[in-house]
């Protein structure tokens, strides 16, 4: 093997390592992530219903969604908040209890990052409290990223390898990704139990 070949291998390995770093990227300049204009986002807001009269109009995704969801730091912050803010008291470690399960493929009010943030922010009429003013928008995005990790939605390398302490649940890295609620009937697949 020539030295050039070795060098290029090294460069490739270094590039691969660097590429892996983005899962832990943290921005230290500008406004804290997610702080800006949640109100604005809530106004335009994610759609909770998949039904639009006539021809559906696509909604552009919120740019912040990917920033949080593909970030291991955001997911782990969300995991801490999930217990500290007593989310786990109602949703357990994803299996649910007083509140619905969050690790399955059913989402009453939508399972996208934007929809989960909207549910946390606004609350929902059958018992989900509204956390606006009690959590910062950044915390809501972090929580949403963690909630999505319960059904293994984010890419594998940002999922937590550890379940919450003392829990009898498997860590998200060992879970299979649940199909999301499809936006068109064509994508629906039934399940048998």
């Amino acid at each position: 093997m020539s030295s050039r070949c070795r060098t290029s291998l090294l460069v490739l390995a270094a590039l691969a390592l660097l590429a892996g770093c983005d899962r832990e990227e943290r921005r230290s300049r500008g406004n804290p992530l997610g702080e800006a204009a949640l109100g604005e986002a809530a106004l335009g807001g994610p759609r909770v219903s998949t039904l639009q009269p006539g021809v559906p109009i696509a909604s552009p995704p919120d740019a912040r969604a990917a920033d949080f969801e593909e970030n291991a730091y955001a997911v782990s912050q969300g995991q801490q908040l999930f217990r500290q803010m007593n989310c786990s008291g109602c949703h357990a470690h994803g299996g649910g209890g007083m509140g619905p399960a969050l690790m399955d493929d059913r989402w009453r009010y939508g399972g996208t990052m934007e929809q989960i943030v909207a549910s946390i922010d606004q609350g929902r009429p059958n018992g989900m409290p509204s956390w606006r003013g009690k959590l910062t928008p950044q915390q809501m995005w972090q929580l949403a990223a963690y909630v999505r990790s319960l059904s293994a939605q984010p890419r594998q390398d940002v999922l937590s390898g550890r379940a919450e302490s003392e829990s009898a649940t498997e860590p998200p890295t060992l879970r299979s990704r649940e199909p999301m609620v499809p936006s068109s009937a064509a994508g629906v697949k039934g399940t048998t139990q």
Partner: protein
């Protein structure tokens, strides 16, 4: 002329009087024959079986049976015994469905139906609809329904499904609680609201799920929220006006707990000044739980109200060093003032959510050769307590299942001895704690039969793993601080029904059930005991042997309270609400994911098979012999 007129006038007066007399007579006759008849006692002469333990229910608290069912526990003694014997061990095999009624709500149906005269009353789980069914007409169609419209958000603070345990009837009124903390009185004939009293707020995490008890013109109600850091209380409302007559908190200073000069607990550990404050870390009593969400009994001779208090909050015991008065214990209070007469703390400094809200069955029975007036309490902590209901002295405390959490009860000090090896510590998982947090028995009440003198206890056989962590108090959210998971105890059966001899403090027979038994029990003068299973079987067994004599598969799992009554046609009926849910059945009624063993605070794994065995529902089933 004038005399003739006066003659005519007097004749007219006479005629009017005569017509009035005839009319009154006719009305009297009519109402006697076709109008609502006052209930009459048709209790057949009760003859105890030979070999009866000798325990009986006091007549003052368990009067002769009039065929009605006016309160969840049948009577103030809470016997759940219907004297009728038309349906009996010989013919129960022929029992068949008389009619059904869908409540329209597919959540846990824990309520006892009531029967007053020719009407049956049902309260549904949230949204707490009250139905009045006309038993005098074929198929028992609804006469009226009442919708209290509780706040939808209340569902988010109800710890263990959105259940309701039933209504109470007294003096032409139906009393019941709503999930959003209201007690409501309705006219039993018309369904019109008479009063509606708001007693708590869901923003603090409070709900109300228990069945009221009405005694001496007072409606006794308590709050739920032991998993939300809600401060528990019992309130007496004036039955006429709905105004609060007295309110007794479980925690806090003596003036809040209504502890005064008349308070004489039997044991030294329950005596002292402001124990509801000093047995807690500073301020912790304000969110210390001790909720009153279970059963109340009443002794009319002593004019004392008896009830148990719930678990302290949070579950994590390291956050609340001290005895945590007056949680997990039994109170005796004066009905007129609410003043505490005595208190006995069954489980000081509760370590494992061994809530003590279980029923107290008032009995008179021989203890050490002389008749004593007692209460029998099958406790969540796994012990059947026999307590002198005058003094609060514990006469016996005996395990009725497999216990590793405790080593016994010291009858000198009254204190239960917990097993130090099982004590939770933050950052550690303790395994093999029995009974589990739902207890040897949860809320579902036992029944007593004067035929056998036995108490029939529907219960669990569950153990658990427990890991404590620090709980944050955020008002209106869960305040628990423990990750738990339950599993079957020795034998592998998750439930059992035990026939218990309270006099000799021993089991007589036991039925093992695969699933936890979350339904109440009913005993009848026909020698039968009824209960239901979480996969939907409604069963009748022989009180003497436990032998299964009849069973019927209902549409959903049973977690309700069976009752028996005499219909307008003078025949005996048995009724049960079918509809799985509650804490143990939330896996089905809330559609939980059982891959998480901690779902529904510990039930996820142990109930993983329940969705395959039953589906959610909400249907009343009423049974009778063919006639």
């Amino acid at each position: 002329m004038s005399s003739e007129r006066s003659w005519r006038v007097s004749h007219a007066v006479l005629a009017v009087v005569a017509i009035a007399i005839v009319a009154i007579g006719l009305i009297f006759l009519f109402t006697r024959l076709w109008g609502p008849r006052p209930p009459h006692t048709t209790e057949p002469p009760l003859r105890a079986y030979s070999g009866s333990t000798g325990a009986i229910a006091p007549r003052s608290a368990a009067p002769a049976d009039d065929g009605q069912w006016t309160m969840a526990a049948k009577n103030y003694a809470s016997t759940r015994f219907a004297a009728a014997n038309e349906i009996n061990t010989g013919n129960v095999g022929k029992l068949q469905v008389a009619f059904t009624f869908s409540t329209g709500i597919a959540k846990g149906q824990e309520a006892a139906p009531l029967v007053v005269g020719g009407t049956m009353y049902i309260v549904t789980p949230f949204p707490n609809i009250v139905y009045a069914l006309d038993l005098t007409r074929p198929g028992a169609p609804a006469k009226w329904s009442y919708r209290p419209k509780p706040l939808s958000a209340a569902q988010g603070v109800a710890c263990c499904d959105v259940v309701n345990r039933g209504a109470a009837y007294a003096d032409g009124r139906i009393f019941f609680n709503t999930l959003d903390n209201r007690t409501i009185a309705l006219d039993a004939n018309t369904g019109k609201e008479i009063w509606d009293t708001q007693l708590g707020s869901i923003e603090q995490g409070a709900t109300m799920t228990m069945a009221p008890l009405v005694a001496d013109g007072k409606v006794l109600v308590g709050n739920s929220g032991g998993e939300m850091g809600v401060r528990g209380w019992l309130v007496a409302l004036d039955a006429g006006s709905g105004k609060v007559a007295w309110k007794a908190y479980t925690t806090g200073p003596d003036k809040d707990v209504l502890i005064g000069a008349g308070y004489h607990p039997f044991y030294a550990m329950d005596r002292g000044h402001d124990l509801g404050v000093s047995s807690w870390p500073p301020e912790a009593w304000k969110q210390g739980g001790g909720n009153v969400w279970g059963w109340i009994s009443y002794d009319p001779e002593r004019r004392l109200v008896y009830y148990g208090t719930g678990n302290p909050g949070p579950w994590n015991s390291e956050q609340r060093p001290g005895d945590n008065k007056f949680t997990t214990g039994v109170f005796a209070r004066d009905i007129d003032t609410g003043a505490a007469r005595w208190f006995y703390q069954t489980t000081p400094h509760d370590l494992w959510d061994h809530d003590d809200i279980n029923e107290q069955i008032l009995l008179d029975m021989p203890v050490a050769g002389r008749m004593r007036q007692v209460m029998v309490r099958p406790g969540r902590n796994g012990y059947v307590y026999v307590i002198d209901r005058g003094t609060g002295q514990v006469l016996s405390a005996t395990p009725y299942g497999y216990v590793t959490a405790y080593k016994g009860v010291d009858l000198k000090t009254g204190r239960i001895i917990s097993n130090p090896a099982m004590e939770p510590k933050e950052g550690r998982v303790i395994r093999g704690i029995c009974p589990a947090a739902p207890g040897m028995k949860d809320w579902n009440p036992s029944a007593f039969s004067p035929l056998t003198g036995l108490v029939y206890i529907p219960h669990n056989n569950l153990c658990m793993d427990w890991g404590s962590f620090e709980a944050n108090y955020i008002a209106g959210t869960p305040y628990v601080g423990a990750d738990v998971k339950y599993y079957a105890g020795p034998g592998g059966n998750r439930g059992a029904v035990t026939a218990w001899d309270p006099v000799h403090a021993r089991p007589v027979w036991e039925i093992k059930e695969d699933l936890p038994v979350w339904s109440g029990a009913l005993t009848t003068g026909g020698g039968l005991m009824f209960y239901g299973t979480m996969d939907g079987w409604f069963k009748a067994v022989d009180q003497r042997s436990g032998k299964l004599l009849w069973q019927f598969k209902t549409g959903s799992g049973i977690i309700g309270q069976p009752i028996s009554y005499r219909g307008p046609d003078e025949h005996q009926y048995v009724a049960i609400l079918s509809g799985v849910g509650g804490w143990s059945g939330a896996v089905v009624s809330n559609d939980l994911d059982t891959r998480d063993a901690t779902a529904a605070v510990g039930w996820g794994g142990v109930m993983a098979d329940l969705p395959k065995k039953t589906t959610a529902g909400g249907t009343l089933y009423v049974f009778a012999l063919p006639h």
